[in-house]
């Protein structure tokens, strides 16, 4: 077994199927750990790098491959995915090599900043869409996969058009069989998720 396949990645959450995190039905990983501390971040509970749980890249790839028939792609959110760039690069490389799924990554860093990191270029080489830039609450947008208007959706392959990316629904609400609710998408701060059920 190669050392790369045993690389560990720190996860906050995994949602097997979502329709509000990029074009079409997608599995979504929220990675754990972020030091950017953007004010009013959607997911403050993902910041602690010691939170969440670890999984091998191998295990994550296996889970995604089992879901492939239902999926159009995989989305990686956070936390800050680029702060786990080595494991993320390996994850994306393996998904690219073993499936036909598209890959979309959210990052608080700009494309140029990611290109300057050690493992960032390896991530960029294996993904289709990068939504890049810090979340600036004062320019909140919450649509077209952009949390704020300073962010940019970079199409790194010709898999999607800009319109396809922008037409992603803003929110998905999942009400589980026992009544527990999951809200995902670009809705953070909109007040919709401030339920008192």
């Amino acid at each position: 077994m190669s050392a790369a396949s045993q690389l560990e990645i720190r996860l906050h959450a995994f949602v097997p199927l979502s329709r509000a995190n990029g074009p079409g039905p997608r599995s979504v990983l929220w990675l754990q750990g972020c030091t950017l501390a953007c004010p009013e971040c959607f997911n403050p509970e993902t910041h602690d790098r010691d939170g969440g749980r670890s999984a091998t890249v191998d295990a994550v790839v296996s889970r995604i491959r089992a879901l492939e028939p239902q999926l159009e792609g995989v989305t990686v959110s956070g936390g800050e995915p680029i702060q786990q760039a080595e494991a993320l690069g390996e994850l994306c490389r393996r998904i690219r090599a073993t499936t036909s799924l598209s890959i979309l990554v959210f990052s608080g860093y700009t494309l140029q900043a990611i290109e300057r990191t050690a493992s960032g270029p390896d991530v960029l080489a294996h993904i289709d869409v990068l939504v890049a830039g810090r979340y600036l609450h004062e320019t909140r947008l919450g649509s077209g996969l952009l949390g704020s208007s300073n962010q940019t959706a970079h199409l790194l392959t010709d898999r999607y058009t800009r319109e396809e990316v922008a037409s992603t629904p803003e929110i998905e609400i999942q009400i589980g069989p026992s009544g527990d609710v999951l809200v995902t998408g670009m809705s953070g701060g909109a007040g919709l998720i401030d339920y008192s059920l």
Partner: protein, 135 residues
């Protein structure tokens, strides 16, 4: 980043709970300001009381009343007799909680600037609602 928010549903709104139970097919659901006694299948008064009551004639031919009583934290707790738990069991209670969450969310959405793109139900009964901002 895209948001990831989980919410543990607790039943706090009597009106939404009543609507949920009516949706589930009970012919009549009583809603009281204060706790009222439940009645047993022999028309006997039971020890329990509740603010929301489904009278036994709407539950089953030999059933007792089903109640939902507010606890100290203001949330409703189901009161189902041992006899009726064969049918109105944990799975049924989960359906009540899911239906309640659905009703509350529908009302929240109606207050806000979103339109429903799609609503589907998975094989495991998970309800998915995708939304788009209208402006």
């Amino acid at each position: 980043m895209s948001a990831y928010t989980t919410i543990k549903t607790r039943i706090a709104s009597a009106e939404h709970l009543k609507r949920t139970l009516l949706d589930m097919g009970f012919g009549e659901v009583e809603l009281h300001e204060t706790k009222q006694p439940l009645t047993g299948w022999r028309n006997d008064a039971r020890e329990q009381s509740a603010e929301i009551i489904i009278r036994r004639e709407h539950v089953g031919p030999t059933s007792n009343d089903i109640g939902f009583a507010r606890d100290e934290e203001g949330c409703f707790v189901a009161l189902v007799s041992e006899f009726d738990r064969a049918r109105y069991n944990e799975a049924w209670l989960q359906s009540v909680v899911q239906g309640y969450a659905y009703h509350v969310i529908q009302d929240k959405l109606a207050e806000q600037d979103f339109s429903v793109v799609e609503q589907t139900t998975d094989a495991d009964r998970t309800i998915r609602i995708t939304l788009r901002r209208m402006t």
